[in-house]
Amino acid sequence: MNFEPKILGFLCNWCSYAGADLAGVSRIQYPPNIRVIRVMCSGRVDPKFIFTSLQVGIDGIIVMGCHPGDCHYLEGNYEAEVKFKMVKLLLNLVDLQDRVHLEWVSASEGVRFGEVVTNFTESIKKLGPSPLSGENFDQHLFEKLKAIELAADGERLRALVARKRIIMEEGNIYGEKISQEDLDEILISAIEDEFLRQQILLKLKNEPLSVKDLSQLLNIDSSVILKHIISLKARNLIDYDKIEGITPFYQKL
């Protein structure tokens, strides 16, 4: 049987949703896989929405907003772009990055709306069913994605992403302007840290574990795990559960 992917679109009310309406008025035909959620602005799309969509087995997610400079709320789409970039970086860690897409479609681009949806649907068809859908559900991946969602939803990454444009325009608290590349580097390393920490937390939620256990379960060098265990403990997120011999076991608080 042919694979018919589940596609979800987040469309901003003023441009992309209107573009979709125009496609309708013009009777442009495109694949019927897409379902649309209307939001007022693409800047409203919380990364959490995208991760949740993947978790419930949706095969492809497309966010659409007004072209740069055209956002009804002036700059919401720039915010959307910054957030989306983080989403991509995070999904890179679990190889799901090609299942999400960001596109600008204006109210007058009915034909283009049809093309964008057609192309995206085709690209997801080529990728095949999501490893989080139906029979091929991958529990291991699901847990990693959960860790990603929690990382993105955490204060550190949210603050980094939300500050990005402010820092680029106004400089940091010392008034120093930081380049896009430097900011991206900071973001990438924060993303890796947070992803690992959330994975550790998720594991410790189920049962008390030692550094060695974690290192084996997550396939990560124990010195790296230890570094994060120390910082998680300092933040009061975990504590000792018990000590067996000389090996401490940790639990999530």
Binding site: E4, K6, L8, N13, W14, Y17, A18, A20, D21, A23, G24, V25, R27, I28, Q29, Y30, P32, N33, R35, V36, I37, R38, V39, M40, C41, G43, R44, V45, D46, K48, F49, T52, S53, Q55, V56, G57, I58, G69, D70, H72, Y73, L74, E75, G76, E79, K83, A107, G114, D153, E155, R156, R158, A159, V161, A162, R163, R165, I166, E170
Partner: protein
């Protein structure tokens, strides 16, 4: 505001109405079956299908069903909320249901019309969309709309022909009007023009008339040599600061019209422009007005510095200005040789085309050039490749006139930022919608007229002045105004979460967020437009938004995914 039918513990009772839209939807989707499907969904207590839901019978059906089945949520599955939501919301209100408890499911524009050849798949899609709509409706909450007073006065920025006409019109409707002009005199470009197409009226005469009316009007206050320095507030209640020669003046107005016009391009480095014997069409107006022209060989070049990579647009009236001035010269000196080198002549309508005919009859020569082979200007002659003859021809000149476009004013960006409105790619002001709202900005209570939006001629500038005034009066003629209820807020119980990082405050495009005396974050309801950026960005997730809540959006995602996550 309407009564809120829902009380806390009242069970959710959803009514779903599926519309056939004649055959627009019904021809592709089985609406009866969709209605039956809807009835099987959680919390749906009533469903129906109608031939035309937006017709009288359809609307009555909704109202009656609300009464009869005690519905506290209504879903219409039909066309697009962008056109029909206000109608269905108002019907709900009439039946005593808060308008925010209405929800739209689009199965026409985004389903039956775009999947006509795949009715089965379209049917499955429509079912999903209804399922998602029902999930969302379950989470909807009744909202209050805020009512604010309206200040019945207006500000017009720019005292050119469009701004003056807008001001005069507003005043005649009884609204106190302030007209702010940055130069010493009113009049804009018309101060520098000689005679005007299409009736050869003297520009000064037209100006004298309208300026006289403005000055005599007690309801209009004119501030010349003045600039706007700040604009706060919102529709119905703008607070504006004007700087006149260093003095600050503060006014309060209910609506604002932008009529700042545009600037003629100086063609530096183009076709040997020197401002003396190689001048612009705009400079020629001044020559004709104040001096007598005693040159016999005149060449005009059209589309100078426009309709190219840098400026893709046509400036609209330059062909007409060239024809007008060429005829004026011919009239004064029938022996003058005039050649107009053009790419395409634009003379729309009867009156303008008449100019072209007269120009041809009077012996003015027209030569078409190709953008890839532009005329070559030398000391006192021009070489031009003639497409029809297939050779280069040489034309001597004593005066070369370059028709340059109007370009956006340099300070448009600042004004746009003050008003929080948009500019298009060439930095002209961008209207809310080219056909539906051509003289509105997307920002409520702010309107646009004249060349500030796009190069236009005087007739069009005046019409747009009237149009903007009429649009502003739709606000000013009411004592009060309802503002959107779907806005962001910081719930009392989340106040402790906030860390005062000020990210929200910096990201809000409308400066709707501030810190109060207690150093607490405060969202000013009437300023918030409900974009949701602060909600998606607050690192502590302290800010919430009404009507597009996380719970509502996530419920739609779960409904589509078919899985309810813990």
């Amino acid at each position: 505001m309407s009564i809120n039918k829902e009380s806390e513990d009242e069970p959710i009772r959803i009514g779903v109405f599926v519309c056939h839209c004649g055959t627009n939807i019904g021809g592709v989707l089985d609406c009866e079956e969709l209605a039956e499907y809807a009835a099987t969904l959680p919390n749906v207590v009533f469903s129906d299908h109608n031939l035309y839901t937006c017709a009288e019978i359809g609307l009555t059906t909704i109202k009656e069903a609300i009464e009869e089945h005690n519905l506290n949520r209504v879903i219409v599955c039909s066309c697009t909320p962008r056109t029909h939501e206000p109608l269905f919301r108002s019907i709900c209100e009439e039946a005593g249901l808060n308008k925010y408890l209405f929800s739209f499911v689009n199965i026409r524009e985004q389903c039956s019309w775009v999947h006509m050849k795949k009715p089965e798949d379209a049917f499955e899609k429509a079912k999903d969309l209804i399922k998602m709509g029902v999930a969302r409706a379950t989470k909807l909450e009744a909202l209050e709309t805020i009512v604010v007073d309206v200040d019945p006065s207006a500000l017009v920025i720019g005292g050119g022909i469009s701004g003056m006409n807008a001001a005069s019109n507003l005043s005649k409707q009884g609204f106190k009007t302030y007209l702010v002009e940055k130069e010493k005199n009113l009049g804009g470009l018309l101060n520098s023009l000689y005679r005007l197409f299409p009736n050869d009226q003297e520009s000064s005469e037209l100006l004298k008339d309208i300026e006289g009316r403005i000055q005599a009007d007690k309801n209009i206050t004119v501030y010349t040599s003045s600039m706007i320095t700040s604009i706060d507030g919102f529709v119905g209640n703008f607070e504006v600061e004007i700087n006149q020669n260093g003095n600050s003046i503060r006014i309060k107005v209910g609506a604002i019209i932008v009529a700042v016009g545009a600037t003629p391009l100086k063609p530096i480095n183009l076709f040997g422009y020197d401002g003396k014997i190689r001048i612009t069409q705009f400079e020629l107006e001044n020559v004709l007005k104040n001096y007598s022209l005693n040159t016999n060989n005149i060449v005009m070049i059209q589309c100078v510095g426009t309709r190219n990579e840098e400026r893709m647009y046509c400036s609209n009236f330059c062909c007409m200005s060239a024809l007008k001035n060429a005829l004026i010269i011919k009239e004064k000196n029938p022996d003058a040789h005039i050649a107009i080198l053009f790419r395409d002549m634009h003379t729309p309508g009867i009156a303008y085309e008449e100019y072209y005919r007269r120009a041809r009859e009077s012996g003015i020569i027209f030569i078409k050039y190709l953008p890839e082979k532009p005329p070559i200007v030398e000391e006192n002659k021009i070489k031009i490749y003639n497409e029809y003859l297939g050779t280069e021809i040489i034309i001597p000149y004593e005066l070369l006139v370059l028709s340059t476009p109007l370009i956006a004013n340099e300070d448009n960006k600042q004004i746009a930022q003050l008003l929080k409105v948009q500019l298009e790619e060439n930095n002209f002001f961008l209207e809310a919608h080219v056909k539906l709202r051509p003289n509105d900005f997307a920002t409520d209570g702010v309107y646009i007229a004249g060349s500030a939006k796009w190069p236009v001629d005087i007739t069009e500038s005046i019409s747009q002045g009237y149009a903007a005034a009429a649009r502003a009066s739709t606000i000013l003629s009411h004592d009060t105004l309802e503002v959107e209820g779907a806005i962001a807020y910081l719930p009392e119980e989340y106040k402790d979460l906030c860390r005062g990082c000020e990210i929200c405050l910096k990201l809000c495009p409308y400066k709707a967020i501030r810190k109060n005396e207690k150093d607490e974050i405060e969202i000013i309801q009437v300023l918030c437009k409900g974009c949701g950026v602060c909600v998606a960005s607050c690192p502590k997730k302290a800010i919430k938004i009404k009507h597009y809540t996380n719970e509502q959006i996530l419920s739609e995602i779960y409904a589509f995914g078919g899985i309810k996550l813990p």
